[in-house]
């Protein structure tokens, strides 16, 4: 543990930056105008593109060193695709992903691998994301081999043991297979694997939503302890607004491929300005009957439109309780409010 904290995790910016540029102070990741479109093709031999699913459409945000940015949205909002695009698991259509100052969308393959070493990802499904034929030790140690981070077998073994201890697993479990672990323990394995290469940034894609309530809190505490010890930054993707409130410093709300509101945690929960954020917050029941029975609910009409055929103008206009004609004409730009608060809504007021 001590070895990890003293290590290069808190190294100055730009350590692996191949171009020698330094990133702006404190910012580890900057996403600029990112778009990820999936083509829809027709035809068998002569495939032609007939449309595109705009999974992510013109999204910009930053993540600071050692902070947690919560990314919330419902299914189909594009939050997972953003995480995958950052990790180079989905191809981008446009925009830039600046990680420690260098644009991942333009780097040559070799340098991407070096940058990837500084990033990790934790997946939602603790069952599907671990190779069932690999032992716990090999799963956790694989990044060490891929990035050639250990010189001797003994060093490799002790590093794997150390990682297992870090995430609260018994190192004697190193030869067990994933099916021998419970869901919570499997998610711990996934976290240990993400930590193996000592990343400065981790994409956490719904890391606790498949876990039981009593186990969720254990994993959240572990993620927070690791952040405090190692200064790692998280992009925390989730649909559970209560957990996002607990773990994030800033929160971005997505709807149908766009960020509609982004602010500090205090601002977004105390003073939500976008009608979608307001509806989302009011839809989450609070575990307290006295308070819950007095809460007003904004029940939205209808379903989330298909990203195949998004509404014209503002993406939320079809379900928005306060939409007017102008909302179906153009997507509103961000308006700045105090408290690092940006809202994409024509109706937003201070």
């Amino acid at each position: 543990m001590t070895e990890m904290t003293q290590d290069s995790l808190t190294a100055p910016t730009g350590r692996t930056n191949p171009e020698g540029r330094t990133s702006p102070d404190g910012v580890i990741l900057e996403v600029r105008d990112l778009s990820v479109h999936f083509p829809i093709t027709r035809g068998f031999l002569f495939q032609r593109q007939v449309g595109a699913v705009k999974a992510v459409d013109g999204v910009s945000f930053t993540v600071n060193r050692g902070e947690t940015l919560g990314l919330v949205g419902e299914s189909g909002s594009g939050k997972t695709t953003i995480g995958r695009a950052i990790m180079h698991l989905a191809e981008t259509t446009g925009g830039e992903i600046l990680f420690e100052g260098s644009d991942l969308t333009k780097l040559p393959r070799k340098e991407i691998r070096a940058a990837r070493q500084r990033m990790g990802i934790i997946f939602q499904d603790p069952y599907g994301s671990l190779n069932p034929r690999m032992t716990a030790g090999n799963i956790v140690g694989e990044p060490l081999i891929v990035h050639k981070l250990t010189d001797t077998k003994a060093e490799y073994r002790s590093r794997v043991e150390e990682l297992l201890i870090t995430v609260g697993l018994n190192p004697s479990m190193t030869n067990r297979f994933p099916h021998e672990f419970s869901g919570g323990q499997r998610q711990r394995l996934g976290i240990a694997r993400a930590l193996a290469a000592r990343p400065a940034f981790i994409v956490c894609d719904e890391p606790v939503s498949a876990l039981d309530v009593s186990i969720q809190a254990q994993v959240i505490n572990l993620l927070q302890d690791l952040q405090a010890e190692m200064g790692v930054a998280y992009l925390f993707i989730a649909h559970d607004l209560s957990i996002v409130r607990h773990i994030s410093e800033r929160v971005a709300v997505m709807y149908l491929g766009k960020i509609v509101e982004i602010a500090t945690r205090e601002e977004i929960y105390a003073n939500p300005k976008h009608p979608y954020t307001q509806a989302l917050l009011s839809a989450v029941p609070v575990p307290d009957p006295v308070i819950e029975r007095q809460r007003e609910r904004i029940v939205l009409r209808g379903d989330i439109p298909s990203p195949l055929n998004p509404p014209s103008g503002c993406v939320f206009s079809t379900r928005c309780p306060i939409a007017t004609e102008e909302c179906s004409v153009a997507m509103p730009e961000f308006t700045e409010f105090p408290g690092d608060h940006q809202v994409a809504c024509f109706k937003a007021t201070a």
Binding site: G184, Q218, L241, V290, V299, G302
Partner: protein, 343 residues
Amino acid sequence: MTQQSDTAGHLLDIRGLATHFATEAGIIKAVDDVSLYLDEGETLGLVGESGCGKSVTALSIMRLVQSPPGQIVSGEVWFQGQDLLALSESGMRQVRGRDIGMIFQEPMTSLNPVLTIGRQLTETLELHLRMSRSAAAARAGELLEMVGIPDAGERLSDHPHQMSGGQRQRVMIAIALSCNPKLLIADEPTTALDVTIQAQVLELLKSLASDLGTALLIITHNLGVVARYADRVNVMYSGKIRESASALDLYAKPRHPYTVGLLKSVPRLDQESEDRLQPIEGEIPDGTSLPSGCAFRNRCRWAVERCAEESPPMFDVEEGHQSCCWEWERVHSAPEVSEAPAS
């Protein structure tokens, strides 16, 4: 033990229900001596984590437990004056869908993919209410409209895959309520849905149930859902009811360590949370290797020696509030100096 000696007054009265599953690893007591009741028009929340036996309890009421490997080994399920467990299979078929409706978690898999929505609605109406085809078709349109599906008349010819998840769950509600049942069992009705759709479906379910006077058994792991909709709550863990109380009492003064742990481990949307969450340490035990005595004792900070020796009975905390814990008098949810967390 406050089980009523007669079923008068209770719509549903379950006594000593036990459902076991035979597996290669041994017998799993999925439901182990469960007693609960539900009054007419009341909403009862049955809360617990995966594997606690809440869904098997619901399936046992409906006698839908697959056998083998499952078997209802003992108990009585009194519903409107008859013991459902003593009914013939054909008698039970009359109850299912007509007197007791059920909604499952997965609207995708609980609807028949090759039948139209309209047919799935009319089937129940023709079978249970002996409606003519045309009368059933007209009623089906009304039911779809009742659950808030736009252009209901035209959607009757749709197949389930043409609808969104939220709409499918609305169709399930329409089918479940089509015969005006006395009791509706909703097993994790919104877990598979998005937050804003969850709110839509739950508000609909609750308002329809109260309009029609249907009693509601909501099975869920979501403490927030229960807080909003349930009159009373039963908390399950490892096959047993651990605590039973009115929703107000359960949240304000829980008297079982598991309930206390559950309430403390979830961050709340309406409050600035503390720096660290307070999880329940340890793992949910495997059904084949439960600890002796109280199944929760390994994770319990109030556990004493007796907990390992004897399984606790239900103690009366006060009128309408029971806790299955030897140490219930010491158990409370007030904050105190927490012991060093085991990592």
